[in-house]
């Protein structure tokens, strides 16, 4: 196989691979602003300059393909000088407002300034200033911090496939704007905050919520639709602050949609039911688990004819637990947007799907019948969900008694006898099957919120003599 020597290290490469990617195979990170794996190459930030033996001028590592035997130096004096010069120019207009910038802590400009920049500023020019601008419901723009890498423009063109961002004017006056100042149309606008290497484009949802260095993040799977995008959830003190996409070339590549990105707010919603509830004559009352379990247990034991409706945001493991526990019951799957997976389809060119539940395929494979086959009149109806699929209105009326286990909102309680809080996707581990049949395991990001308990603990308590929910 063809080899290239980068800083004295032999690296194998495939034809057409660029120096910047080949170098990262051996953990040699070449600084970059305009280059992004998922976007086209423009080589305009000049940050990735490297020296190639036998070439008089420095070349950009992002646009130069490797050739066999090529000798590349990324740390020579010539390269260091050029890169630090580029860095200095980028800071001529930058406001250096890191203390109030949301990107601080995960900012390429900060990182490379530290690594490649100069100790002090030699310029004291007037810095161009703009006011912050709204770019639709998702994104806020701070033009002062922009370094004109044009990743956002290419992101809109190539990922969102709507030509709506432009760089107008030129040179020092360059300004990134949406065409005619319109709000962004793309359903992937949140990704602009991910691709922006500086703090210019930030999501309104996360803006000013948390300094990023306090956040920890765990890998999980988006439960917003049947695509099953790989994401990570950032959290602190058991509160989720944001979701970000993780690279998975088989599913979502580098991206995720806005619907998924902001689709975690039900977890910490003030209207989420966080303790067990029992229906009284005119309203609902909170009870401790121990007080409630005997009556729930009695209700379950008396019922001759049980229907279990499993929302399609339940994991495979939970379906198995329910099936073992209610072995004589009839099981139905429920997704709010489609009846069966055969109705599921892509709704755009990229990743969004019609089925707005993550595991309908898995439920079908577990042998659950479609929701339309559910008949009214059973003694007891048990509904289980994880919050992404909401408790359906009027479902409780289809049976004499009804128990909702899962993540319920206070406004959805009408008709249920008992509401037993369980976990949302981010609080539990399990397996989802996406629309292509790919099984994806994920682990819990945060601990259970409030008095919510895992499904297996709740069901175990129903049969245990001490009635304790572990």
């Amino acid at each position: 196989m063809a080899k290239v020597v980068i800083d004295g290290v032999d690296v194998e490469f495939e034809a057409g691979e660029k120096i910047i990617d080949v170098a990262s195979k051996v953990n040699n990170h070449i600084p970059r602003y305009c280059y992004h794996e998922g976007l086209s190459i423009v080589a305009q930030c000049r940050m990735c300059l490297v020296e190639v033996e036998g070439q008089r001028k420095l070349v950009t590592a992002c646009s130069t393909p490797c050739t066999d035997g090529m000798k590349v130096s990324t740390k020579s004096e010539k390269v260091k000088k050029a890169v630090s010069g580029v860095q200095e120019f980028l800071l001529v207009n930058h406001p250096l407002d890191c203390p109030i910038c949301d990107q601080a802590g995960e900012c390429s400009l900060q990182e490379y300034s530290y690594k490649h920049g100069q100790e002090d500023a030699r310029t004291d020019f007037f810095r161009r200033t703009y006011i912050d601008v709204d770019m639709g419901p998702s994104i806020k723009k701070n033009m002062n911090r922009c370094i004109h890498c044009t990743r956002c423009i290419r992101y809109c063109d190539e990922v969102g496939q709507i030509h709506e961002m432009i760089a107008q004017q030129r040179g020092n006056d360059t300004e990134i704007v949406t065409i005619d100042g319109n709000p962004l149309q793309t359903a992937y606008a949140g990704g602009l905050a991910d691709v922006c290497p500086v703090g210019s484009l930030t999501t309104k949802d996360f803006r000013f919520k948390k300094r990023v260095w306090y956040l920890r993040s765990k890998d999980t799977i988006c439960d917003g639709c049947s695509q099953g995008c790989n994401i990570s959830a950032s959290f602190e003190s058991n509160l989720i602050y944001r979701l970000e996409p993780r690279k998975n070339m088989d599913i979502n590549k580098w991206w995720m949609c806005d619907e998924g990105r902001y689709g975690f707010h039900h977890v910490h919603s003030p209207s989420r039911v966080l303790g067990p509830l029992i229906k009284t004559s005119d309203s609902f009352e909170s009870r401790l688990w121990g007080d409630l379990i005997p009556s729930v247990s009695a209700l379950v034991q008396q019922a001759k004819n049980i229907s279990v409706v499993v929302a399609a945001d339940a994991t495979l493991e939970e379906v198995a637990i329910l099936k073992t526990h209610f072995s004589s019951a009839n099981f139905y799957s429920y997704s709010p947007s489609v009846e069966k997976t055969s109705e599921d389809k892509a709704v755009d060119h990229l990743i969004r799907r019609k089925d707005k539940s993550p595991n309908l395929k898995g439920l079908e494979e577990s042998g659950l019948r479609p929701f339309s086959e559910l008949k009214s009149g059973s003694d007891l109806l048990i509904f289980f969900n994880a919050g992404k699929v909401r408790v359906p209105y009027g479902l409780a009326k289809l049976a004499k008694n009804a128990i909702a286990i899962g993540v319920a909102m206070k406004e959805d309680l009408n008709g249920w006898n008992y509401v037993l809080p369980s976990l949302s996707t981010y609080e539990k581990s399990g397996t989802f099957v996406n629309h292509t049949g790919m099984k994806q395991k994920f682990a819990a990001a945060i601990a259970p919120v409030g008095l919510s308990r895992p499904l297996n603990k709740i069901l175990e308590a129903l049969t245990k003599s001490d009635r304790k929910v572990g």
Binding site: H163, E164, M165, I166, A167, Q168, Q169, R170, I179, D180
Partner: protein, 158 residues
């Protein structure tokens, strides 16, 4: 396609299309022709050009705002375009601009109320040997001076 420009525009585009590999590459000449016909390039004109070349309007707008020779606002009958790059600047272009501003009672980039004069600053006109240079509409006024400027302003005003 509906014809939104004059016949001349389409004739010109037909003539030059053989020199360009694709329609997108004809953006600059198309903008020139459109500006010649309409005097300036409005948002609608950008859309018309984009439709004609079958490219997104965003690309047209980027090019229009990039080049100073495209006017995004209506300009006066006499458009004084002062070069203010290094050679002209060293030879006193700044002074000429201030003089014109005072004389016409407008600021750089503005047009007089009667729509006769516009003063603008442009990038290098490539005539450094005869600096300072002012391009009045399509004509170069080389070795420009305050006297020549006065003459020009008075001559046109009457």
């Amino acid at each position: 396609m509906k014809k939104v420009f004059g016949e001349k525009f389409y004739q010109e585009m037909d003539r030059i299309s053989q020199f360009y590999p694709n329609k997108r590459a004809m953006l600059l000449p198309a903008l020139h022709a459109a500006q010649k016909e309409r005097g300036w390039i409005s948002d609608e004109t950008m859309q018309d050009v984009a439709d004609f070349l079958e490219i997104p309007k965003t690309q047209v707008k980027e090019v229009v705002t990039f080049y100073h020779m495209f006017h995004t606002k209506p300009v006066g009958k006499v458009n004084l375009q002062f070069c203010n790059n290094i050679a002209c600047w060293l030879r006193g272009s700044e002074e000429l601009i201030h003089h014109a501003e005072k004389k016409c009672n407008i600021r750089l980039g503005e047009t007089t109320g009667d729509g006769v004069f516009t003063i603008s600053e442009v990038e290098c006109l490539g005539s450094c040997g005869t600096a300072p240079v002012c391009q009045v509409n399509d004509d170069y006024h080389e070795n420009f001076s305050v006297e020549a400027l006065d003459k020009l302003l008075e001559g046109r005003q009457s």
